[in-house]
Symmetry: C2
Subunit: 192 residues, 2 copies
């Protein structure tokens, strides 16, 4: 049984809290406004907040996040233009977060999934697959185990460097949905 | 009826020639070794060659390619490390090609499809979808029409700037296949 903390109460935060609960993981739900005095209980801490909120959480809870697995799920798109990602072209929001939390085990995951497909566990007729990138093998294995226990599939997408490609993937998928080429109930499925 | 020229006789070139033939497009097949004297007949010219061969073709056939639609299908991965793409981090091979062929209408397409899914027209139980990026709307519409006539689906993925994300997408998909997380008969399907 792995305790999970989810920061964020939006569509993604709610879908993820439901996913972890369905895997019998006790879930603590917090948000960006939570006091720094609040004790984080999760061995895994999922930041289901906008990209712009990551820095604040890293600063406020940096000490508490030491030693924990921290999951960045953001798609750091410039929403004013919908024409680029905000991190440096050779970087990623996950790499930025890892630089701010050097004693945490940072993973990139869930940014390639829409909230709907996390809840329904399907993309079309295909099982929903969570792509997970990170440099800590144990953290990836633990998160993949919870995802699979919840009835979804998980694939290790490689080192944290692959977060750059996952963020491009998420951006592309979002841009197709926003331009109504696909629906938010569709998207990219992963076939083995 | 749109004439198509395919440069390249490998897995992808062969699959693409078959696709265009099944759409009743007359197909001319050439390769990097073809003499510059050969007359290109395709209104659409698909470069199904490795990234390293693009420059040579652009130089040798640059004059003939003026005014034509030129399709870059490459995944410009550093295959010695399988850990990065070769173009500048904020660029793409398609953008590089467009800079070398300013009077051609350059598209990025087919790099997110494996040869097997082009031939079978399915990824799992899902129809194979070709993602097409480019700045010339008519070229995209014409190519999408041929793809659909061949029995596959096509989605306009936006401007040529989106080639960067398509190349990240293709790199990620390849890296999962090479590391045997997915098979070359699997990959990413697009659900509407």
């Amino acid at each position: 049984m792995v305790n999970v903390t989810v920061f964020g109460k939006g569509n993604m935060g709610s879908a993820l809290a439901g996913l972890f609960e369905s895997a019998q993981s006790p879930v603590q739900v917090l948000d960006s406004a939570t006091s720094a005095d609040e004790k984080i209980t999760g061995e895994i801490v999922v930041l289901a907040v906008p990209y712009s909120a990551l820095d604040g959480i890293a600063e406020k809870f940096g000490d508490q996040l030491k030693g924990r697995t921290v999951v960045d799920i953001t798609n750091p798109v410039d929403f004013s233009t919908f024409d680029s990602l905000l991190p440096a072209a050779d970087g990623s929001s996950a790499a930025e977060l890892a630089a701010k939390l050097p004693e945490s085990k940072v993973l990139k995951a869930f940014n390639t999934n829409f909230a709907g497909s996390l809840a329904s566990k399907h993309v079309g007729e295909n099982p929903t697959t969570v792509l997970i990138a990170g440099d800590d093998e144990d953290s990836k294995t633990t998160l993949a185990g919870i995802v699979e226990k919840a009835g979804l599939e998980a694939i290790d997408a490689g080192s944290l460097k692959r977060a750059r490609e996952l963020e491009s993937f998420g951006f592309l998928q979002l841009s197709l949905a926003v331009s109504e080429k696909i629906s938010f109930n569709g998207g990219f499925a992963v076939l083995r």
